[in-house]
């Protein structure tokens, strides 16, 4: 058993009920194949960085789970035929949020993402200084 992150983008034409149904279907599929869903979120509708199938928006769904290769294979198989899913990503879950939070706590850094300014402008200034 490994931990996975599974995210996908749904067609923006779907209404909230259809989105919920889709999520429930995938949760069920994972469970049927011996997986365990530890988190399920609907991130909601957001703008895409580029057009996919002539669409500029998508509904993001995010699932954290534990399972075996079998579950992942099954998801890939199902996703291939699900025409409402525009994109999907299944990757090993490295618990980024938790581990980064712990790391910050250990170091006593409590700012999540301080503004580090414009790194490229800094670089140009360095080059002018003869570096």
């Amino acid at each position: 058993m490994r931990k996975y992150e599974f995210a996908y983008i749904l067609d923006p034409a779907l209404d909230d009920a259809a989105v919920g149904e889709s999520l429930a279907r995938y949760v069920k599929l994972i469970q049927e194949h011996g997986g365990e869903v530890t988190q399920q979120d609907i991130w909601g509708r957001r703008k895409l960085a580029y057009e996919i199938n002539k669409k500029t928006d998508g509904v993001y769904v995010y699932i954290r789970m534990r399972g075996t290769r079998k579950v992942v294979d099954e998801l890939h198989r199902t996703l291939r035929f699900d025409e409402t899913v525009m994109r999907n990503l299944i990757v090993i879950d490295e618990d980024a949020e938790r581990r980064n939070a712990e790391s910050r706590a250990r170091a006593g850094v409590n700012v999540d993402a301080p503004d580090r300014g414009d790194m490229r402008a800094d670089h140009r200034a360095d080059m002018r200084a003869g570096g």
């Binding site: 960085a49 490295e94 790391s103 910050r104 850094v109 993402a113 301080p114 580090r116 670089h123 570096g131």
Partner: protein, 83 residues
């Protein structure tokens, strides 16, 4: 008559701190769009280490995270109609 120009002095480059180390980031997250955005150029390319000061290990992780974020349309592959 040749003017003697003072040779431009080359100071050794100031080592830039690794931004992920400063923020104590141990896992570079593909979901952390706000952070990743600071490591791409305005054309959408992954910024060079030389520019951002990212260390080698973090740069490798960063590249993977940016590619995942691109796949999920959270970051652009290229910015068209630039300027």
């Amino acid at each position: 008559m040749a003017t003697v120009r003072k040779k431009k002095e080359k100071k050794p480059a100031r080592k830039k701190p690794d931004k992920f180390y400063l923020d104590r980031i141990v896992v570079i997250d593909w979901k952390d769009e706000r952070r990743l955005r600071r490591f791409i150029t305005d054309r959408g390319k992954i910024a060079a280490r030389r520019i951002t000061g990212t260390n080698a290990r973090h740069q490798r992780q960063l590249a993977i995270a940016i590619k995942r974020a691109r796949h999920m349309a959270m970051l652009p592959f290229i910015k068209e109609h630039y300027r």
